[in-house]
């Protein structure tokens, strides 16, 4: 039995769909207002965009966030420092290793046990973090291609990401939320044969990435959809606090891994790719995708160097204990503390305070990169077409778990 579905216009609907920044009175003659999301595949999570349109022209965008607000900062105030790590995972769930790495380093700096960390521990951390950076960029590039009509790169990249996830599962036992990097060490040493499998994988991945460049970046349709769209000039990018590939695409060569040289990244040889406006203007959607693809190549370089260290000077030995430097009781000195680190999406910073008497932080603020990156959206999407808005949202590479925390 078939039933026709009727859509009727109920005048009160707009007022009931709280919270809305715009009302019908704000709309121009012939203009209309649509809600993009929160359940829309191209918003990459539960993001709601209130879009004011004139025909197909975007007049204004109001992002509504908070659908995934899980009170991370409040919750952290009730947890000992080492038990916060699983919740750090759940912030940026696409690149959990990177966030863990930043948090573990922050705590080690604060406790003053940085020099006790075995170099092998640090190289393993860099290895898994860079693997996760690859996986994260694969999601970003793949879903971005799919957003604007290229389906093949998505399938290819998900295929390659699967290899990475299986390796990380082998290391930590989990596919997404690892809790592998601990304060002062690691959960386990890497399993026997892991180095060989990673080097096999990097050899496999290099030609695939070059293929991806041909398939996506140099694709005429892709260039036409992304070049010159959502241009973020340098000054605007800095003023809005953008970080990561968003900032580098605007032509600013800044990466914490290089500038601060934290962890053992100072021993690694890699480049920081920046956007040059090859297809359109510097800081457009194409540049952002380009920077991400180039970063994948740089991550492969770092992984190769890590493997050399792990097979050579920092070889596996029976005496090696990855949990040797893990403090039994984590009670940092009283005072404020601030640490900045680089994740695939940009700068993750932790601001923490402790009173020196309890094992829990008094305040833990996570400065998430996606949060600031998203705030620029209304500024850059005005005057574009609705279809281009999708291209712009995709190029920001949002993870809503991190925006809402």
């Amino acid at each position: 039995m078939s039933r026709t579905i009727q859509y009727e216009y109920i005048p009160g609907n707009l007022e009931r769909s709280e919270p809305a920044a715009r009302t019908e009175a704000d709309l121009a003659e012939g203009g209309f207002l649509i809600n993009l999301g929160p359940q829309h595949p191209s918003t990459h999570g539960v993001l709601r965009l209130e879009v004011v349109l004139d025909g197909e022209l975007v007049l204004d965008v109001v992002p509504h966030i908070g659908y995934l607000h899980r009170c991370f900062e409040k919750h952290a105030e009730a947890l000992p420092f080492n038990q916060i790590i699983p919740y750090i995972d759940r912030m940026d769930y696409i690149a959990a290793m990177n966030s863990e790495h930043v948090y573990a380093m922050a705590m080690e700096n604060w406790l003053g046990i940085k020099q006790d960390i075995h170099p092998r521990v640090e190289f393993i951390r860099i290895l898994v973090a860079e693997l996760n950076r690859l996986a994260s960029h694969f999601v970003a590039i793949g879903t971005y291609g799919m957003d604007i009509g290229a389906f093949t790169p998505f399938l290819w990249l998900m295929r390659d990401r699967e290899h990475i996830l299986r390796m990380l599962e082998w290391v930590s036992g989990a596919r997404m939320l690892y809790n592998y990097i601990w304060i002062g060490g690691l959960f386990y040493d890497i399993p026997i044969g892991f180095e060989e499998r990673v080097s096999e994988f990097t050899a496999y991945l290099k030609p695939k990435l070059s293929e991806l460049e041909d398939l996506l970046l140099n694709n005429t349709i892709f260039i036409q959809r992304t070049a010159g769209i959502g241009v973020i000039p340098r000054g605007l990018a800095v003023n809005y606090g953008l970080t990561g590939p968003m900032l580098r695409a605007s032509g600013i060569c800044f990466d914490h891994r290089k500038t601060e040289g934290y962890s053992l990244y100072s021993e690694m040889d890699f480049e920081i790719p920046i956007g040059k406006g090859e297809q359109g203007k510097t800081g457009d959607c194409w540049d952002r995708t380009y920077v991400r693809v180039r970063e994948c190549f740089e991550s492969l370089k770092i992984i190769g160097q890590c493997l050399e260290k792990l097979k050579g000077p920092c070889k596996r030995t029976p005496e090696f204990d990855p949990q040797k430097a893990c403090p039994k009781k984590i009670r940092p000195a009283a005072g404020d503390y601030f640490f900045r680190g680089e994740t695939p999406r940009g700068e993750l910073a932790f601001f923490m305070t402790a009173d020196g008497k309890s094992d829990v932080p008094l305040r833990l603020k996570a400065r998430a990169p996606s949060f600031s990156n998203l705030s620029v959206l209304p500024e850059i999407s005005k005057g574009h077409l609705l279809a281009d808005l999708i291209a712009i949202v995709g190029s920001i590479d949002l993870v809503m778990g991190e925006v809402d925390r």
């Binding site: 709280e18 409040k74 606090g241 601001f351 008094l362 305040r363 600031s372 705030s375 925390r405």
Partner: protein
């Protein structure tokens, strides 16, 4: 670029307290009264010896030792000068209305969202903010969750919230 430990001079008429350099706590430590905060922050952004063009975060803090006070931390750094600064200001919580601070969202646009988040979680009001609506919480949420004396509401729109 390593953090610079030398602190450039600030004109006399801007009043603040310099608490030294601490690499672990976000660079140079500056304490300022709330009424002078805007003048100092705008100097840090515009003066050529600072050029703190990147505001990393604005975070609130409810002090547990002095429960009547709210502290606001500004962390900023400069891409060109290699300087990193942590400015903080504190104010007694005003009863009956939201505690007022100056907004810096016209200096750094990124501050707009950070301040909205702070305002709803700590019960603050940033004066001259372009859009003071709630960001993360629903508009009808009761209380300010990140305050130390926060008590969760019993139910929200008929949904039971408290489980013992």
């Amino acid at each position: 670029m390593p953090m610079s430990a030398s602190f450039p001079e600030i004109p006399r008429h801007i009043s603040f307290e310099y608490l030294g350099f601490n690499a672990l706590a976000g660079g140079h430590q500056l304490r300022v009264l709330p009424e002078n905060s805007r003048e100092l922050l705008s100097h840090l952004l515009r003066d050529s010896s600072f050029w703190c063009d990147y505001l990393i975060s604005v975070s609130g803090e409810h002090l547990i030792a002095e429960m009547e006070k709210i502290r606001i931390h500004y962390h900023m750094s400069s891409y060109t000068r290699g300087i990193q600064i942590h400015v903080w200001t504190e104010k007694t919580i005003s009863t009956g209305e939201r505690t007022k601070f100056f907004s810096v969202s016209d200096l750094w646009k990124t501050a707009a969202w950070h301040e909205r988040e702070c305002a709803e979680l700590f019960g603050l009001e940033f004066e001259n903010h372009p859009n003071p609506a709630n960001l993360l919480l629903p508009n009808d949420w009761e209380g300010y969750p990140l305050r130390k004396d926060y008590r969760q509401q019993e139910s929200y729109h008929g949904i039971k919230l408290k489980y013992e």
